[in-house]
Symmetry: C2
């Protein structure tokens, strides 16, 4: 069977009962992590600008903006929530393709779930269908497509959103094929936007495009039936690598969503091993009880760390994300490295500055990027050393349930308070039991 038809058919036929228990749990983690990011990013300037620009275009305001007070129509809400979920670059990563899978799919689907009153099981089924499609389509074209300048989260993400929304709308196979066709005609995103607000626009617009694709398809708007395999279709236009077997092989037995990973720290992944090392030494030796006892911090790292994040005197939070000295200091003080550890005031605080001046790095070509050696000289406990083999959050050391919760609370507490954060965690833990997703949404807004 042709690729497009096979994928459409699989998505249409997928049932909650057909998804293995572990995959459901992995999907719940993906959703939970994404929701924390969406709430955590909701007060960012990019979100406020989008709201200001689009307010006068909104249709019936049936969908909430998580972490905020405003409502928008389901399509605009998908865009704006998509922006807020990616704006701190703290959301999930499918490491095989560097796709951030939840952004396009969950942003489109949750907005619809609120207005349509989907159950937790319906929601999870559509989420899994969308993310499987998205990551598999990414596998088919990665890395060439990404190397050529496309932001793969936006280009593959449209298909994921279309499948998820199409599934929620109950499309049949032909109309799901149309949804894929319309998605293929609307890729989003170029890597040249990295470092600007438009990077986070990409998952948001991909969500919106996928929603539009499924909505038009649901009424019979016709498209090509072979968007992936046809000569003038998506794959040939957008990539030199075109391995279509990646899209369909093992559908329903091999699950890409289970490979999804979650960042523990709100900065580039190359810094994660030294942050992990500092936090472990801090917690194991109670270093935070008197930071003045720390005399010197030495880190041995892969050369990329200094190349990408070599700033030693960051002047604000954004520069702090590119400073190995700052992250060591912040991690030792706070025992974590969330978005709050990159607040401008904290980066410039006297305690942080004093400690970062004691950090020194040595590069070692043989050190893998997810490893580091951290040595701390203290005046009261001697020299303490921690070797990080696979930093927390890497493929080999996924975040524990507790670490995911800590990350979630750390993002949500400043926006909605700790009690509400815990309440949302409770609902997400039992997401498959939720009878109406709009009940969850009610506690995600201010």
């Amino acid at each position: 069977m042709a690729t497009t038809k096979t994928l459409a058919n699989w998505a249409v036929e997928l049932k909650y009962e057909g998804i293995p228990r572990q995959v459901v749990e992995d999907a719940k983690k993906t959703f939970y992590n994404w929701l924390g990011c969406a709430i955590g990013g909701s007060s960012h300037e990019a979100v406020s600008i989008a709201i200001e620009a689009l307010d006068e275009l909104s249709g019936p305001r049936k969908a909430s903006l998580y972490g905020r007070t405003e409502k928008f129509d389901v399509s605009h809400a998908a865009l704006i929530n998509g922006i807020s979920s990616h704006v701190f670059d703290f959301d999930d990563t499918h490491l095989k393709t560097i796709i951030h899978p939840a952004g396009p799919v969950a942003s489109a689907l949750l907005a619809l779930a609120e207005s349509e009153g989907l159950t937790g099981k319906q929601f999870l089924t559509a989420l899994v269908a969308g993310i499987e499609a998205e990551c598999r389509i990414g596998n088919a074209v990665y890395p060439d497509h990404y190397d050529n300048g496309w932001h793969i989260t936006g280009t593959a993400g449209v298909f994921g959103a279309a499948i998820a929304v199409g599934k929620a709308l109950g499309l049949d196979e032909l109309r799901m094929t149309y949804a894929l066709g319309l998605a293929g005609s609307q890729p989003v995103g170029l890597r040249d936007q990295f470092g600007t607000m438009t990077k986070s626009f990409h998952p948001g617009r991909a969500a919106q495009n996928g929603h539009l694709a499924a909505r038009l398809a649901s009424k019979g708007y016709t498209t090509t039936l072979g968007i992936f395999e046809n000569k003038r279709g998506w794959t040939n236009a957008i990539s030199t690598k075109r391995d279509l077997t990646e899209i369909t092989e093992g559908l329903g037995t091999r699950w890409e969503i289970s490979l999804n990973s979650f960042k523990p720290f709100a900065c580039g992944i190359v810094l994660h091993p030294i942050i992990d090392g500092c936090i472990r030494l801090r917690n194991e030796h109670g270093l935070n009880s008197d930071l003045t006892k720390i005399e010197r911090i030495d880190v041995v790292v892969n050369p990329l760390v200094l190349e990408l994040t070599g700033k030693t005197r960051p002047k604000d939070g954004l520069e702090g994300k590119f400073s190995y000295t700052h992250v060591c200091s912040a991690a030792l003080i706070a025992g974590k490295c969330g978005e709050r550890e990159f607040a401008d005031s904290l980066v410039n605080g006297p305690e942080t500055v004093a400690l970062r001046q004691k950090v020194f790095a040595t590069v070692d070509d043989k050190m893998p990027t997810d490893c580091a050696l951290v040595t701390i000289v203290t005046s009261n406990q001697g020299t303490l050393t921690k070797e990080i083999i696979h930093a927390v959050g890497s493929a080999d050391t996924p975040l524990t349930k507790q670490q995911l919760e800590d990350k979630f609370e750390d993002q949500v507490e400043p926006i909605l308070g700790l009690e509400r954060a815990k309440q949302i965690t409770g609902v997400c833990d039992e997401l498959e039991q939720v009878e109406n997703l709009s009940d969850l949404i009610k506690i995600t807004v201010r």
Copy 2:
């Protein structure tokens, strides 16, 4: 100066007074032809499906759908009018790139002009800025980009729409650069959609994407500043040909909009020479006074004609567009070949069928595609011959003012009546004098 900045600066600085008189006249023709197509296509099923699918998402209904009764928000109206203007493939063509320039630009701009009450001069200035940008960007990447599967009307069109809307919103140079950046992250359209409703979705969605780009940019949503010239930007991702000098060279002295062409007949351009020949013989010899006197019609054509349009017994209007026998028959009967000559009932009418059976084609490798030899044997006037050197509507034989008006009336009369068609023509003739475009819109709706 960098390409993106140069283009943005030119668009921001462009004033009505700086546009040569002839270019203004060419822009008016482009707009008038497009408006006729938008009204003419308004009752197509693709338009009705889009309306049904999107009705519940509409924001404040400030913009009309031409030829119809409904209103939508300015963004959705841009999409739907864009679909209706392209659905019969009867709109304008920039022959150097095969871009249909008006679709994305005018659809986005006229919707905004209605809600903002732009003057005719403001409208024409923004239209010219948008179409120049769009066609020049197309020149930079054509033909490789098109050959690789992209529907260039949708990909280059987004920039045109962004520039036009940005101009109407009064963006400064930096924000116009953002508008181009956001446009670049949202290309639309693959050639694999040709023959489906999604082909006409492309100019509509390009209009909407350009509108969104300009609107977000107007509030300061940041993007890359070098979408065309940067390594990870639009041009490298989307094309192997990348001649950026096409975008900026001769801006304000060489005008692409003056190269725009208009189809006289509602079918593929390879059929135009034989239609032209049949109409000329009909009119010069009064053949329509008694069609039974026609014994045989012979056409000598380029081989492409039989390859692309070789159906001899079309069973409906869509097949009629791919039938050299039908178009000769219809042209001899009606003296024209507009959308109405492809109605299913007409294609199957006994008079049309009887005449098409007398049509015979011979191919000649040396016959250029815009030429044909038509010979009609009659029982009362002997053998009549017409050699068409450059068919009407080709670059060398543009439509006269009268032919454009005939085409317009032919499309608009069935929807709004002949009187209204003539009234709109009168306003469009003096478009630069219009004080508020919403006055024009009022007479374009039912």
